[in-house]
Amino acid sequence: METAKKRVLTGNKAMAEAISQEMERDPNVFVLGEDIGKYGGIFGSTQGLIEKFGPERVLDTPISETAFIGAAIGAAAEGMRPIAELMFVDFFGVCMDQIYNHMAKIPYMSGGNVKLPMVLMTAVGGGYRDAGQHSQTLYATFAHMPGMKVVAPSNPYDLKGMMVSAIRDDNPVVFMFHKSLQGLGWMEQLDAAVDNVPEDSYTVPLNKAKVVREGKDVTIVGIQMMTHYAVEAAERLAQEGIEAEVIDLRSLAPIDKDTIIESVKKTHRLLIVDEDYLSYGMTAEVSAIIAEEAFFEMEAPISRLAIPDVPIPYSGVLEDFVIPGPNKIYEQVKKMMAEA
């Protein structure tokens, strides 16, 4: 592992490596989805797999999400471990019945007698001007529904480790990866999309948030891109003597309450930042957990930043206005510190 530490991968390669290693380890693992074969996945998560495992285990599908995600459920019920890719999370509406009414509920409705060890991986996020039907995260839409684990890793190390965990998990896991964090050649090049990733297989738990920056004055809970923006804002705040603790939520369901509660016990202030819609979203859930379970720890109103309940607009000036960025986070914290 020591030498492996220096090994650097992009997000998509980290994911593809995880899948490849698990396919080698377990013949029941296979992948299906649109353009995941020769194309390697529109966001590169299956790059190199068809060359290695052939079209019998890496299946390009027609544009029939209900059929192929439903087929993954049927295969999982028979003991296979499918990984289905929904190209953009925004397309969920054509197949949500399979996801919500079947994948998520069959284990429960069967009294635990049917297991569905499958991964539904899907690309989320905006910021590159793909407009209203290709830029959402929909974190809360999935996390609201019991019966699925829902994770959203923010860096290549976690992408690999959490993908390995997801594949080995006996429950359905919705694995959301952020397009901008895949490190693709045709997107903006972000440092956050490249990271040290050991070659040997390892796992990262699916139910643990992570403190990515320690601080004593205010807690900022973020997820995926928002974690990175929060860290950026925190660094600016530090120059002004405000020490923000930043938590990368990583997992939406189950949600790791303890890490957040522990942090606010120290900071007594909380800002939650989300790339999903504001109302009925992740920011609400985290806030409600604290308002219920750590109420007396709080010294100021709980603050939240998210998409202000509008569809994601196309034009750059508009999209930048609705997606929270480092500036907005910085300003919001400043306001919170001034007020209380």
Partner: protein, 335 residues
């Protein structure tokens, strides 16, 4: 009409089908009664021994037995909201199934699923309450069969109403492209709840839609279990031999309402008595009774045996306990 001269179907298979049909019919008749327990004098769907919606398959037995006679427990069956006939013909544990419908802890799903959500992995049976949604699951089973190099087949039962749902089209196209051992059996009982077939379906019968996928299609008329047997035999053998999917449509009869309690104001009151005249169970019995290889006593013994199994299942369900309320919190995730 299946009284007409038929190419040979072995007496053993015929008898098996008849016994299953008796079992199914008796099961549904019992259920119709039990369902009313606790719902009189004022009907309340949420009350009684068996609450919730109840879709019975009385009259639709041929579709289930005519194909399940060709299946083993390695073959998969997915069924819709009206699943008892398929479950029984596929050999689902009758006691656990009935206990599930009673909401008991000994049920297939520990009381969590109920009548529309019966899962028996032992015989690869499942069903669900969303129209059309079971077809993709059967595609997945058929994929598994192919990936593992087995000769297992997967059968998805649906109603004629379900053939207009997107899942039907996507699944059949996918199964055809991948040449999977999938059979979709469309039970045409003339209605999707209250909507007659001609108001929902743009073709005479759904086997005609096979040409939209370049696959085989077959039609069975008159709710005939023996014609169903033969058509299904071919389809199953095609599937086992890697020759791809088939759509079978069978004309069948819904003797009862869509669900128990359906006022059925949308259908002519003379329709059901007419259908009852063509009861496939009576027809098959008559045919067997007229044959030389089986006599009236044999038939009665068999009927008694079938009914006894059903009675025992109901008794088991009655005798079982309700689950601990807190168990509602379990089984969301397995660990």
């Amino acid at each position: 009409m299946f009284e007409e001269k038929q190419p040979a179907v072995s007496m053993e298979k015929m008898v098996w089908m008849y016994e299953q049909m008796v079992k199914i019919r008796y099961y549904e008749d019992q259920m119709a009664e039990v369902y009313m327990e606790g719902k009189t004098p004022v009907f309340n769907i949420g009350a009684g021994t068996v609450p919730g919606e109840m879709h019975l398959a009385t009259g639709q037995e041929p579709a289930a037995v005519g194909i399940c006679v060709h299946l083993t427990k390695d073959d998969t069956v997915t069924a819709p909201h009206r699943p008892h006939h398929h479950a029984i013909a596929k050999g689902v544990d009758l006691k656990k199934m009935t206990a599930e419908i009673f909401g008991k802890e000994t049920g297939l799903g520990k009381g969590k699923g109920g009548h529309m959500h019966l899962f028996d992995p032992e015989v690869k049976f499942s069903c669900g309450g969303i129209v059309g949604a079971g077809i993709p699951h059967a595609v997945g089973a058929a994929m598994t069969s192919k990936m593992k190099g087995k000769d297992w087949v997967a059968v998805a039962f649906i109603g004629e109403g379900a053939a207009n749902a997107g899942a039907f089209h996507e699944s059949l196209n996918l199964a055809a492209v991948w040449n999977l051992p999938l059979i979709v059996v469309v039970e045409d009982n003339s209605y999707g709840i209250s909507v007659p077939k001609k108001s929902s379906t743009s073709v005479e019968s759904n086997d005609l839609r096979a040409s939209a996928y370049g696959i085989a299609g077959a039609y069975v008329k008159d709710n005939d279990p023996i014609a169903m047997y033969k058509v299904a035999e071919e389809a199953v053998s095609r599937a086992r031999n890697g020759q791809g999917p088939t759509i079978i449509e069978i004309e069948t009869y819904r003797f009862l309402g869509h669900f128990q309690g359906d006022p059925e104001l949308y259908r002519d009151q003379t329709e059901v008595p007419g259908l009852r005249q063509m009861d496939p169970l009576l027809k098959l019995r008559k045919m067997l009774a007229e044959s030389e290889s089986i006599n009236e006593t044999d038939l009665e013994t068999m009927e008694k045996r079938a009914k006894q199994e059903v009675d025992e299942a109901y008794q088991f369900a009655r005798d079982s306990s309700y689950p601990d309320p807190e168990s509602a919190l379990k089984d969301v995730f397995s660990s």
